[in-house]
Amino acid sequence: MASKSNRILTMSHAIAEGIANEMRTDPSVFVMGEDIAAYGGIFGATTGLLAEFGEQRIRDTPISETAFIGAGVGAAMAGMRPIVELMFVDFFGVCMDAIYNLAAKNIYFSGGNCKVPLVIMTATGGGYSDAGQHSQTLHATFAHMPGLKVAVPSNAYDAKGLMISAIRDDSPVLYMFHKGLQGLAWMASPEKAATEVPDDAYAIPLGEAKVVRPGKDATIVTLSMMVHRSMEAAEQLAKDGIDVEVVDLRTLVPLDRATVFKSVAKTGRLIVVDEDYSSFGVTAEIITSVVERDPTVLKVKPRRLAFPDIPIPYSRPMEQFALPNAGKITEAVRESVKKGR
């Protein structure tokens, strides 16, 4: 098939295509999860795969994350490259032993004799009134655990390239996609989450952040949905002559501290934006990464914007009040820039 570089894919189609690319060339890759086969994944990440690869390789499972995430760890250690979908990241509780104590540790506990090439694909994020057990991002919960890698794409191009790297990696990878970026007809998605995506397989290395907007006055470090909110803020600020640099982390583990530091050393101002809970999270880790290396690069105190330390409300006004957004980001950047002059 000819390469169609002008084709625009949603993030959901890009993820499914990345999986399909790898499944065509590697017979050890297969997918398991709830409603991932006949339905195509409730957030579209496995659309079309059953028709091409059949029910031996695209497997609907019973509603037991304990069983099928555990089975994924075992299959990975036995030589397969499974992708298991944890439908909502919020459902991690019943399979956390398989994730924290088996997937994350078995490479180490076997003295490196076993690989665990498992991808756990999971949907994150709120903003659509689905309440506290269906709206979390939980980035830090997984990035905290040694032995797990964590990929968090913000757009279709990155989503495909990071999925391919995740499948090829010999360590377990949490692949966390935000529901609101998938481009589903029934959930609003930022226009720029859908991008041009090449047909062929390509890999984006885990551990490389991307400067998605160069600027000189302040650095916003962010990920996932908040990349889009930060870009909206940056466009607003540009009208007032404030030139913001936006760094999309793309992966949390490995964490590209070098790109973050380089940007902050240039701008002297740091604002970290995350949809996960505020305390003990990504925002603290990013700020610490900079001040541990050299606090004198900062002209003003660093700032963080994240979800307050409360369960996510169902009520739309309450949830929207609590979420970081372009207005809050704009205000935080303005305060930083004002103080540093």
Binding site: I8, L9, H13, T47, L184, W186
Partner: protein, 82 residues
């Protein structure tokens, strides 16, 4: 100039239950060159997705944008094959 219509196929879904659907996504920008048979759009009716393929090769002209409402027979775009 050969213009090919891109219409929502008649009988694609049961309109007695659900009269309308929406254009969920266009996979090419207006004015892009597309190949015959390429998946160019998807429609969503309730939670069911229907793919729309290019009827010919040529330049795509979008008539119903993303999120626009459609019924069977609706002309959603044209392909200029000249």
């Amino acid at each position: 100039m050969i213009l090919s219509d891109i219409a929502v196929p008649e009988g694609l879904w049961d309109t007695s239950k659900t009269p309308e659907g929406v254009v969920a996504n266009w996979f090419y920008r207006d004015g892009s060159t597309v190949e015959a048979g390429a998946k160019i759009a998807e429609l969503m009716v309730e939670k069911t997705v229907f793919d729309i393929a290019a009827p010919a090769a040529g330049e795509l002209h979008i008539l119903v944008p993303k999120d626009g409402i459609v019924r069977p027979g609706t002309l959603i775009g044209r392909i200029d094959g000249a």
